[in-house]
């Protein structure tokens, strides 16, 4: 393992003193400084593995109580040792438990793992950062509570950590925006003081997880993708367990029908009547005719339609799912058929499955468990070892590129064309086509993106992955397609793309950062936000 540097500007003596004091707070077994232990705080999916670009922790420590977190933050201020809080440390593809800045001390909150409350009458949970989707699911099942979690993939992630990195789920939009569905947080501020947001600021209020705002300027957003404090508790709104789930498919005959299909279904989803739709095209299936279509550059509409005419069949498929009482969701499906059928001639409709509660891994067969509020690790199946894998070409992980495009057919096609041009620019296999679909994470936008595989044993391939990732971020930014998350290697670059009025948003954040965290000890560099003393050097020697 490459040796981690000391935190920038911290002497060896001060670092040793800080470590000694940290040990007095959490006990010597829970302060990690050995090479062997710090190996566990490397990002196993890193595409800069073993290079000078890899971000390495100088130490790690793991508290179990809020009071310990407060003491740790005060010690960190005393010695100016930067802390990098992680919750479950499973933010794979974006950095896992590794810090943005080498020399940071990872504040591993995994052992703060208490489910503090679940109310299935008022539909909320209050949890500590180490609680995973699996943990909360088991807590709910053991008590036979009638609430659903909107789970992230994979399910070993932390509710708090996922929400604070703007993670997403798979059911109705108010729930699958995990930060948006939080209600109330407790934060240890950079000076060690404890703060609660929303109604939590009012002593004796019994509405902390019911009413988000309380009164006055909201500050909750400062604690996501940022470095303004250590979140030690967070409330989340949960959905009542739906009685049933209906899944359905709509197909439309013409390539140009996509825009109408998007518009019609937007009216359904934005009325709160459905989960996120999926859009795909049978025309994206590989074949020599598709290869020929893409060989001469991005095809014209005329070329696309000629290709479609040759292949035949529907142009686009929409997959939908509806959650709720049987009479309601059957009614919604009937409404969807009437609405889309009136707008798009030749559209076809199929109910594909119907499931009644309780929803379990056994009852849903081979469906995506995340669609049913069931935590799982199925996402790793896509990365499994294949029968014909050669030992020296076995991939070890991936980094993720997901960029926000308008929720229109034109926006979607522009996103895929940007990817296509980038693939040609950097010499990657050209696989983007005008038949690529979106992923729908958030309610009102599309995402275009994919995973780029990484290898601990193939630095040549990793270098290419970094070149590709960098070009994608820049080209997406130039087109106005911002990343919604970024790997720790590239958060500065990703943040730079949000540059309106000479980066006024980031400059405002820096103003707040310097006031709230004058010693710059909380998460230096997270999503491009550096404290004043490290802003120029970005934490590098």
């Amino acid at each position: 393992m490459p040796k981690a540097p000391l935190p920038p500007g911290v002497s060896a003596q001060d670092f040793a003193n800080a470590i000694r004091e940290f040990k007095s707070v959490v006990g010597p077994d829970w302060v990690f400084t050995s090479e062997q232990d710090l190996e566990l705080y490397r990002d196993p999916y890193s595409h800069v593995w073993g290079t000078p670009e890899e971000r390495l922790a100088a130490a790690a420590l793991s508290p179990t109580t809020v009071e310990q977190v407060q003491q740790i933050v005060r010690i960190a201020n005393k010695y100016k040792t930067p802390l990098f809080p992680v919750s479950a440390g499973r933010n794979l593809a974006y950095g896992a438990a590794a810090p943005v800045m080498s020399g940071s001390i990872v504040l591993d909150l995994k052992r703060m793992n208490k489910v503090l409350a679940v109310d299935d009458k008022r539909h909320f949970a209050l949890v500590e950062p180490g609680v995973t989707y699996f943990d909360l699911y088991r807590h709910i099942q053991e008590r036979k509570l009638k609430v659903w979690i909107d789970v992230a993939n994979p399910g070993w992630g932390s509710l708090v950590g996922n929400a604070l990195d703007h993670g997403i789920g798979h059911t109705y939009s108010p729930y699958r925006d995990h930060f948006g569905s939080h209600c109330g947080m407790e934060v240890v501020l950079p000076n060690g003081e404890l703060m609660r947001t929303g109604m939590g600021a009012m002593p004796n209020a019994d509405t902390w997880q019911d009413m988000k705002y309380g009164q006055g300027a909201g500050v909750e957003g400062l604690f996501a993708q940022s470095g303004f404090g250590v979140v030690t508790k967070m409330g989340f709104w949960l959905a009542p367990e739906p009685e049933a789930v209906l899944t359905a498919r709509v197909q439309v005959p013409r390539y140009g029908d996509l825009q109408a299909l998007i518009e019609e279904f937007d009216c359904i989803e934005n009325s709160g009547l459905s989960g996120p739709p999926g859009f795909s095209s049978p025309l994206a299936a590989p074949g020599p005719d598709l290869t020929a279509l893409m060989a001469e550059g991005w095809p014209s509409l005329q070329q696309i339609e000629a290709y479609h005419a040759k292949r035949g069949g529907p142009a686009w498929t929409l997959s939908a799912r509806f959650y709720g009482p049987e009479e309601t969701i059957r009614g919604t499906w009937s409404y969807a058929k009437r609405r889309i059928g009136a707008a798009i001639s030749g559209a076809t409709f199929d109910e594909t499955a119907f499931y009644r509660a309780p929803h379990t891994l056994e009852s849903i067969g081979k469906e995506n468990a995340s669609f049913f509020g069931l935590p799982n690790l199925d996402t790793f199946y896509a990365l499994r070892r294949r029968p014909d894998d050669k030992p020296d070409e076995q991939l070890d992980g991936h980094i993720d590129f997901w960029t926000t495009v308008p929720r229109t057919a034109a926006g979607l096609h522009a996103g895929h064309r940007m990817v296509y041009e980038t693939q040609r620019q950097v010499g990657m296999p050209v696989v983007a086509t005008p038949f690529g679909g979106p992923v729908i994470f958030f309610a009102r936008s599309f995402m275009v993106g994919f995973s780029i595989v990484t290898y601990r044993t193939r630095p040549d391939k990793n270098r290419k992955a970094m070149e590709y990732y960098t070009a994608l971020i820049k080209n997406a930014g130039a087109a106005g397609f911002g990343m919604y998350r970024a790997n720790i290697s590239s958060q500065d670059l990703s943040a730079e793309q949000y540059s309106f009025n000479n980066h006024s948003l980031q400059r405002f954040r820096e103003l707040l950062k310097d006031a709230a965290d004058p010693n710059g000890i909380i998460s230096p560099g997270r999503y491009g936000l550096w404290p004043a003393r490290l802003r120029q050097t970005k934490g590098r020697a």
Partner: protein, 122 residues
């Protein structure tokens, strides 16, 4: 460059002896607790699966593709898993399986899981 997992078997004989010495002062591993921990932590990737129902378990499928039937794909059905190998994989990961930190699986819990998998009733 050699993959970290590639040299595992080569060092197991030596490390298992050292591990035995190091663990001499520790409480005996609890295989029953290890079973609970395995089911809690490991089965989402290492469950046996069934062709009729859910079978998309990444760990089970990866091991099936690696060993091509020479050993069972489901870890609980294996009869050849030494403690040192199990513990090496927990702390180092292998291919896309990431390592587990001590805050996720403590040393004591790891010993229990290893005891269960290496002594599973066959």
């Amino acid at each position: 460059m050699k993959h970290p997992a590639a040299s595992v078997l080569g060092v197991l004989v030596g490390t298992s002896f050292l591990c035995s010495l190091a663990m001499a002062a520790q409480p005996a591993p609890d295989a029953a607790r290890g079973k609970q921990l395995f089911q809690h932590i490991c089965t989402p990737c290492h469950a046996p699966g069934s062709p009729e129902g859910r079978n998309q378990f990444a760990g089970t499928e990866s091991l099936k593709n690696k060993y091509k039937g020479a050993v069972p794909a489901a870890l609980e059905a294996r009869q050849d898993l030494p403690v040192a190998l199990i513990e090496f994989v927990v702390r180092n990961g292998t291919v896309t399986m990431p390592p587990f930190r001590k805050t996720e699986i403590s040393d004591s819990e790891m010993h229990d899981i290893a005891a269960y998998l290496s002594k599973t009733p066959k």
